[in-house]
Symmetry: D2
Subunit: 303 residues, 4 copies
């Protein structure tokens, strides 16, 4: 198992079948620094164009269509003292006529305290002088090349992952993506210091991180949607609009997971999901919304 | 402050402007037993027709349009040893073509352990022998008469509350409803022993409870949507389809709450919500879906 | 068959189980004058409150739950020289961020030429001096009392009809409503001089009409949704949000119509609908949207 | 102006930035034969993989980002005696629980009468023996390479066109696409002998055509969505889910068209659209639905 320090020199605004920037073995670890959503680096320099420039793709030897790529998010270390957000709720998350009265979508600065592991508005905003948020790092956009030779903007998401903007994609989480091309072709970027559910101002606190990931091929585990796991829960991810359809995808995927890998009958899977499932809203800002269907591991069948 | 033991003798399948079954003073407490969603009582006898027969309405003296009715859920004691659910995910929560393969929507029995405060499938279902769920009681359907002389089926929900099927409506929660008619005319019923997010089999564990509530008029507090509070959070509730619109209603209401009652500017409210908001899915089964926009009190402006 | 001249003296803002204002026999004709959507009469006098005050209800002797009420729209004669509309697209029909730049929703006047049977903006609007629209009268809101003792605002629509705002509900059309209460309890109002698809400024050209209708009970014809017919087509009406769900309701109803009353197998109904169906958008402004699924009669099975 | 007979030798399942199969001058005409949606040619031979294999791309000299590509559909001549459809409504166009009872989605044959210009089920289906439909050819999937290096499956559609499955894209129609890459890179395929609104069985009558098109660059006409024109109407096309969002895109685009190219004020554009607009449903089957916002030319401002 090798650890690769990967320094990106070019970035991509799509997840697609592009030439590999790095080739690794299954099980290897990658450490890399990401730009923010606008392509600004740790030194405040514009290095790439928006939206959400991606490091990668990383070719994982042995990955083939029909496999799953397991991504363990080992560590996310903030590497810039500033982050930014937007100063208004997005138009699509409020009642339509209410949009007429929303404030402008100005870009606003936050201070990232890398020792204290907190974030604060800088300068302070009246009424929010008390607001010191804990750093809760997450990857906004990551995933693999989609099937058919498709390539999707990093503004959106699909079966292959992408711009899901889900709080749950932080250190300690493991995520699986469906491999659709040889080598999987993994991309990442757009990390946030923290973010509310839904990314309803259209941003988390956008900044730069050093991210440490372990990438492993799981052979012959055909997935449709991204799946994940953390210390307590397993979860399925659906990406689509409206939110209802994202929820249908995530729910269908969890049902299939419980029946195919956990041995439950369709009725038993229904019973379990009906009474213990939790839904998390990833984003409701991007072209495709993200809904997560989650179950505590303690409720899974014993094996 | 009086405590009323209210024994319903008739039940209603709508929330509307109906003759009061009980009249109380603001601040009084009501203790009442509810039927299950099919109108079955604690003794297994059919007492009323589905859907979700309601106790009430309760006329709260002094409540006028433009006021809010505060409902504190003090206690919910299970009063029947059985509950029931459906044996299949609902058609609308999975991918459409997947519906062809869902199991039948049979009615299934659960045992409610009123000493141990747990629920278990009865008879056991293979693969779920371990599944002993803690009792987490909640009110599925409650609210007040809507404006304009409207009357809504207890199968659905709207600005006046109704069949929201949200897990958060349990003991310890306080809920506010917009008063639209003199006396508010409060209804309740359809209590669940527990329920997953979304009520995705179309039911929680449907059973009977003795419910203790305190009802208080807050004068001149005009609301649009139901709001709530528990030990740690405040929350706004939106009821509509699709889920996107329910989310828009709840988000708009939270924004209005923060700007009108918590003194935040529109930009400050956006900053706060953008980074700390949480969304809970109430139900995604009923004609109107329910989305809850929630904020931890510790993030609210200090006063 | 009697013709009743019905002069409303009170109006209703809900469709519900209210005392009959007129009782007629099945097959009778009713002639009545409607107010506009704001409750203004032919003389410009405010007679009732918005939204959409209704004449009625009309009790049709013999109508029972499980029957259909057939409504033939015989004639609509404009009785006021003015109509009005709103000066801006509604927020919900454009891209959310685009709402910030929409013009104000001012009330604008139109001249109704009752001899020439045309409507024109009054005063003229630059760029639209040429715009003389033919009068194409339609009933914006009509229907029957819903089941379960429900009562719905005339701002919205449901299985019982209501505020569907569909261009096709004009003279020459026949409409069937599902009878849910004895006497059916028929309501009407909110007539338009003309209207585009979708009612996307939130109004048609709102004015007053003398409407002539024939109401007939069709025994034991249980419907779920409104259905209609004109010289060339039959159609099913679905009312819901999002538009996708309104379309699902209308499509399911047409499928059921073709299989239950026109003798087609499910596969044959699919073939026919797949290649000849037409969809019309009723409104996309009201709380429930309206989608119409329409088939030319010439394609129906011969009998 | 040259006429090119273009014989495709490879086909694509995405619209993206791929090597040109043919280079032409602006204003040239192209005549080409298309495969059906399953990649079957005029002789019944499988030539390419599904979904919807595309001829192209065609590089149009001089086309640059910020231009529009005008596509005139001159002629569509059927070149195969058979077509096919599916035998069931798609799951997503009916009420969710209704899906359980739909018939199987079998592939069904139609006879294409190339002299009589009609299509009929072959073998006949009971109840539909009379059903001889006129040939109404249309292009199901066509468009240009999208921006950012994206590539989209021919199963779906977006700003660049794609699988819109709109009846209006037949001979006599002119369509404009937003050029996002040098040469525009135009693709086409998936032609239908006829199709109902919505493509609700998931297919039109799928067959092969010889298509004649004229492709012309309109310099510096930046579009967001496809637009079109026929003898009587102009129209804007929105592609998204839910249908509500497709409608928002199309409505916003028509509003922008009227204000930017037809000289109307925002209020005047609202008046015109409010009272004369028509909506056509393209498809409600593909991942992105298609809604068309249409206005008769006779209502446009005179110039």
């Amino acid at each position: 198992m090798t650890t690769h320090r990967f320094t990106a020199t070019q970035w991509h605004n799509v997840l697609g079948t592009l030439p590999a920037a790095l080739t690794i073995a299954s099980g290897d670890t990658v450490i890399t620094e990401t730009l923010d959503a606008h392509g600004i680096d740790r030194d405040g320099e514009q290095r790439a164009a928006e939206p959400n420039p991606m490091n990668g793709p990383i070719f994982v030897t042995g990955a083939e269509p029909g496999d799953a790529l397991r991504v363990e998010i080992v560590r996310m270390t903030p590497i810039r003292a500033t982050g930014w957000t937007r100063a208004s709720l997005a138009g699509n998350v409020v009642d339509p006529e209410f949009v007429r009265g929303l404030p402008p979508r100005d870009k606003v600065n936050w201070r990232v305290d890398r020792q204290g592991l907190t974030v604060t508005l800088d300068p302070p905003v009246p009424g929010l002088e008390h607001l010191t948020l804990p750093l809760e790092p997450m990857i906004g956009c990551f995933g693999v090349a989609p099937e058919l030779g498709q390539a999707f903007s990093t503004a959106t998401s699909a079966e292959n992952g992408g711009n899901m903007d889900y709080r749950g994609f932080g250190p300690g989480a493991t995520v699986w993506f469906p491999v659709a091309v040889p080598g999987a072709l993994f991309f990442l970027g757009d990390c946030h210091a923290t973010q509310g559910d839904g990314e309803i101002v259209g941003t988390g606190i956008e900044t730069c991180f050093e991210v440490e990931l372990r990438l492993t091929v799981e052979k012959r585990r055909a997935l449709v949607w991204p799946r994940g796991e953390n210390a307590t829960d397993i979860f399925s991810v659906g990406n689509a609009r409206p939110l209802d359809q994202a929820l249908q995808h995530a729910t269908t995927d969890m049902f299939n997971w419980l029946t195919s890998e956990h041995g439950l009958s369709p009725a038993a899977a229904s019973h379990l999901m009906g009474q213990v499932v939790r839904y998390d809203v990833g984003n409701v800002f991007d072209p495709a919304y993200t809904m997560v269907c989650r179950i505590e591991k303690k409720w899974l069948p014993k094996r």
